[in-house]
Symmetry: C2
Subunit: 192 residues, 2 copies
DNA sequence: CGTAAGTACAAACAAACGGTTGGAGTTAGG
DNA sequence: CCTAACTCCAACCGTTTGTTTGTACTTACG
């Protein structure tokens, strides 16, 4: 079998994403990442330098273009609600994304790749304003922020859901977020 | 000066709350907690047993009766919005609360003191249903969950706010949450 | 008063853990 | 054969949890 350095790095990154997602930066163990990946520990230092850089690479890779993968289709409040529902589905089908960003927010002082993420956010804000032509940029930002916060919290803050609703119910939570998004979008359109 | 064992434990708990809030369970250092408290490290093990029990004690103490401290006054959607605003103020003036619960959700499998917290939540759900008589229990739970999630995220997930809105603005976020709460409360009342 | 029990601190210690490095050897392709 | 990619292993070295020992001071109680 030929050497495939890209595959080796990818396996390391996959393992790092899982480990960091589960245990965070402080809790993650280099040894465990190497074990999960099936690669040698030394490869981590060869390819990524150190634990901190590996975390950044893992987060960057998992972030990918998350927002870009969930476009807003159509226009009007129900289009925003539809986006919220699909973003919720995206987040639940990429369980590491919300947890990694949550760890990042708690453990790190400053977001990884802030500029690029800001650009992607701004594009999404523009899309929202395309679907709701009458609203201001600030209102669109607030709306996006609320949607993302609610979707991420479902994955990264299970205890709050558990304590309040008893057994968490994903479909129910999805519906609630969808409804919230539609109300906010409708209100924003009407108010301005 | 007389021995004041309660004060000693309180100083340890205060220091533990700060340290765990900043760095989480894995990131927190026993030595640092002892240093901050001005007490000896040995006192931690004497009073709390080990790091895990200290974390639970710290979280329990910081949780206190958070929800009970923010009553719902009056009735109608604006009463719920008013509650959301005061809960936001409570969370921002108790900066460790949201971060500790966030750490707990990520690092621990199960919430500390789940039963008591469930009871306090249920009381708050009842209060909401008192203010919005027509709504179901499930809808009230969803509403409370959304309010708490949004308020906590302001403290525990700064990066998302930073990336989307640029410089975070507390008053603006407070207003957005207030508005969201009122819309949800109004919608819930009307729908049923 | 005197002594015993309880509280606290300082310091040292044990044992394990964890990130990181280096070296020696192996596998694969050209 | 040569080189790059890779594995295996051991070791380094600071860190961290948790324990122990010794000492000093406080309070309660006889």
């Amino acid at each position: 079998m030929a050497w495939d350095t890209d595959a080796t790095q990818a396996r390391l990154l996959d393992a790092a994403i899982s480990e960091f997602s589960e245990r965070g930066f402080s809790g993650a163990r280099i040894h465990e990442i190497s074990r999960r990946s099936g690669c040698n520990k030394e490869r981590i230092y060869f390819y990524f330098g150190n634990k901190a850089k590996l975390f950044e690479a893992a987060l960057t890779r998992e972030l990918g273009s998350a927002l870009d993968d969930v476009p807003i289709k159509g226009s009007g409040p129900q289009a925003v609600a539809d986006f919220a529902g699909r973003y919720f589905d995206f987040v639940t089908s990429h369980p590491n994304l919300a947890r990694l960003t949550s760890w990042e927010g708690l453990e790190r002082g400053y977001p990884v790749g802030a500029e690029k993420r800001a650009i992607h956010s701004a594009l999404k804000v523009s899309e929202i304003r395309g679907a709701l032509p009458r609203i201001s940029e600030a209102v669109a930002e607030d709306l996006l922020l609320t949607i993302i916060t609610l979707c991420h919290a479902w994955m990264s803050n299970p205890n709050v859901h558990l304590v309040i609703t008893g057994t968490p119910n994903q479909d129910r939570r999805r519906s609630a977020i969808l409804r919230t998004s539609e109300l906010l979008a409708r209100d924003a359109s009407d108010c301005s």
